[in-house]
Assembly symmetry: C2
Homo-oligomer: 214 residues x 2
């Protein structure tokens, strides 16, 4: 490791990395700067050397968390194959990605509830490109439909399934396999492909899902 500042491991980045799961779990208000300091191995006063104030720290944590997700989403959408296969791959892999990352889901949920214009604007910029890539795939498969709404429906079924989990488990017909992301993915693929009047493509070969940058 050389002397030059390493974006991966400098103190500031480390603080962001430990604070993301805390904000995800408890929300902005309940996480105190003392908590963050303790988790990063310092006192709250030291945080003010790195960040102007709590709001700034939070916004940088948000960006830190979402930037990588947008890049992973782009990577998922860059897979090879027919449009059918690529759409199926997106549903399968994105479902898995979110199953593996409760923090990401929860931060997103909190932003949709209480995010200010600036934060939400930042998110929209990050997801502009992946959204367009997905739109290009859907357009080939269903030129006559409202592509925007089809995409939102897919995302809704994935994300809301996780959001509603705590309540869903207590409702009639809940089964253990509903916790498995593959059950969810299969269900969504069936629904979407039947609307597109296409066959659901065969399951993916066990390609590695990108789970981190680089």
């Amino acid at each position: 490791m050389d002397r030059k500042k390493s974006a991966q491991f400098d103190k500031k980045t480390e603080i962001l990395a430990v604070s993301v799961p805390m904000f995800a779990a408890y929300g902005y208000n309940k996480v105190t700067i003392r908590d963050i300091g303790a988790a990063a191995g310092m006192t709250s006063a030291a945080l003010y050397y790195h960040f102007q104030d709590k709001q700034t720290l939070y916004r940088e944590a948000l960006k830190f968390s979402f930037q990588s997700k947008a890049e992973i989403t782009h990577a998922i959408l860059s897979s090879q194959g027919t449009p059918e296969e690529r759409l199926a791959a997106f549903i399968e892999r994105y479902t898995q990605l979110l199953a593996d990352d409760p923090d990401f889901r929860r931060v997103m949920q909190r932003e949709l509830l209480d995010g200010d214009e600036e934060s939400v604007g930042m998110l929209s910029e990050l997801f502009q490109q992946p959204f367009d890539e997905l739109a290009a795939i859907v357009e080939v498969l269903a030129p006559a439909t409202d592509i925007h709404m089809v995409i939102m429906s897919i995302i809704a079924m994935i994300l809301y399934h996780y959001e509603v989990g705590p309540l869903r488990r207590l409702l009639p017909g809940a089964k253990p396999e509903h916790e498995d992301y593959r059950t969810l993915a299969t269900h969504i693929k069936r629904l979407i492909f039947s609307m597109l009047e296409k066959e659901v493509p065969a399951d993916l070969p066990p390609t590695t899902v990108p789970t981190a940058l680089g």
Copy 2:
């Protein structure tokens, strides 16, 4: 109006009624008991005559808000007609109900994020019956499918559309008509009925949507 205590207008109920929109808009932490007192026309100290503490007030507000919604949901599902018509009616009317009631959506969203076991348990009890009624309808239409998942998908597409609104509006392909609940309802009906391999029933006669109890 007689002397007996009227459940509709006693002071306690009035406090709950004014606090629900506040909790919905800003969340538990950001709403102070001083705020609630002011909105109800009294000081915070007076609230402690009616409620043990802030948590208790919140929980009662939650129940107050959700009980009526569960009853309305039941009313929507009690409509006449073929199973196809009843499912279509549910999608149409529930979409409208949620369009008209941002408080309900937001309180639900907050509970799914941060609700404790007790609150979520209460919600699940309230929605048990409407869920079963919906399941009975779907079962007739699609005996071979995972009914639980089909219902969750419908609810996901309705609720997530509203949740994601602030972000969705900034994404490619967003159009003004996506704000109209009827656009959403039509889209969901098309998707669900194509999966069921049924025709979408004709639009409802302009029946009044129940919007309050009684």
